[in-house]
């Protein structure tokens, strides 16, 4: 339950107008801080919803795959340059950002995480690594601005951010591939 409050406080903090304004004023903050933090606030709030709507999740997200796919759809949507520009200009899109990232990406992914196996997990992380690599390639090498509200140099920064994310994911995948993680966890805690 504590986690839920942390998540809610984080969510409300991010929604404060000055915080919103600051994080959206720089492209890298917008893409690599505000959006992931909204997602994290959803992850933190997830146990509350998982307990509250247990039946719903059990019924409609039994295998965990629907949650993963919903997460991917939302992430993919926010990769579209136009979506990010619109969130700055259209209030409804901004509201959708604050709803979709925590509640349609964070919550379902955490619910799915305990349901999907190691293989699906790895495939998902690999898919994200590939997606972020493509974004990095696009943002670093694209010679004109993709987002009207930001400068080209900001765009390149975001590209390098994506490259960093992608690298971290690949390192993690390599780590899990070549090491036996099970020795660090006892069965009860997972």
């Amino acid at each position: 339950m504590k986690q839920f409050w942390y998540g809610l406080v984080l969510f409300l903090f991010l929604a404060l107008p000055p915080v919103r304004h600051l994080l959206e004023s720089i492209m890298a903050f917008h893409m690599h801080m505000q959006m992931p933090l909204l997602f994290v606030s959803g992850l933190l709030m997830a146990p509350f919803f998982m307990k509250r709507f247990k039946n719903f999740f059990d019924q409609w997200n039994g295998s965990g795959l629907p949650g993963v796919i919903l997460f991917l759809v939302i992430v993919l949507y926010w990769m579209v340059p136009k979506a990010m520009d619109e969130s700055l200009e259209i209030m409804a899109v901004e509201a959708f950002k604050f709803i979709s990232l925590p509640f349609l990406a964070g919550v379902p992914l955490r619910d799915s995480w305990v349901r999907i196996g190691k293989a699906t997990e790895s495939v998902l992380l690999l898919a994200l690594a590939i997606l972020f690599s493509i974004m990095a390639y696009l943002y670093i090498l694209f010679e004109s601005t993709l987002c009207n509200n930001y400068l080209l140099v900001d765009q390149k920064t975001v590209g390098w951010g994506f490259a960093f994310f992608s690298l971290c994911l690949i390192l993690y995948l390599v780590l899990t591939l070549f090491t036996d993680q099970s020795q660090y966890y006892d069965e009860a805690s997972t």
Binding site: S63, P66, V73, K82, D85, E86, N148, N149
Partner: protein
């Protein structure tokens, strides 16, 4: 498991719909593309503004009514995109058989750095590219409000970068005799620009 498949299908359908609507049928992925699309369909009229060219003549912008205009937006202290764009504009200007269309086509380079780009500066800049001040003119828009109108009308975004630089759209804007935006051309594609000019302007005269 069966319900899982149903929820996956629902998610994919709704997700697809979300993408379809927000990208206007999987076509438009940036705001810029969207703006150009809407500018083309809106058919803007000639902006009602006053301009001054590099020879110091002042006249309203609708002086160019009835002509096709190939326009770029620049600032002369730019060190990156503008010189390249103007060099390519010159290539188009030289390649293009101006005598064939004569009065039907004018090349314009419009500065949005009104403060620094005075008539003298523009004239010197025009010299670099052999712009004659008739068929190729460098313009400044003295009134800030007028400048905004022009930039707005043709969907040009200018963001100040640092103290003396700007980030701005780099394209050839082909404007029709009625002031409408006909095409936004890639400034790197000289042949493409020449072909587009031949196609549109050629049509208008024959």
């Amino acid at each position: 498991m069966k319900k899982d498949i149903i929820s996956i299908i629902v998610i994919l359908l709704l997700g697809g719909l979300l993408f379809y609507i927000s990208t206007d049928g999987f076509r438009i992925y940036t705001i810029e593309a969207e703006r150009i699309e809407s500018l083309k369909s809106e058919k803007p009229e000639f902006p009602d503004v006053d301009v001054v060219d590099n020879t110091g003549r002042a006249y309203p912008f609708d002086e160019f009514q009835g002509k096709y205009i190939l326009m770029t937006f620049i600032y002369t202290s730019c060190e990156t995109a503008c010189p390249m764009m103007e060099a390519n504009m010159k290539a188009v200007y030289d390649t293009f058989d101006a005598s064939a269309y004569g009065d039907d086509l004018v090349f314009l380079s419009t500065s949005f750095d009104t403060e620094r780009d005075t008539v003298e500066v523009l004239d010197r800049y025009a010299d670099y590219f052999d712009a004659d001040g008739e068929t190729w003119r460098m313009l400044r828009v003295p009134e800030a409000r007028d400048l905004d109108t022009v930039l707005d009308t043709y969907g040009v975004t200018v963001i100040p970068e640092g103290d003396a630089d700007y980030q701005h759209n780099t394209s050839f804007y082909l404007i029709g005799p009625d002031g409408s935006l006909v095409e936004v051309l890639d400034y790197r594609d000289i042949d493409g620009a020449v072909q587009a000019l031949d196609r549109h302007v050629g049509e208008g005269t024959s």
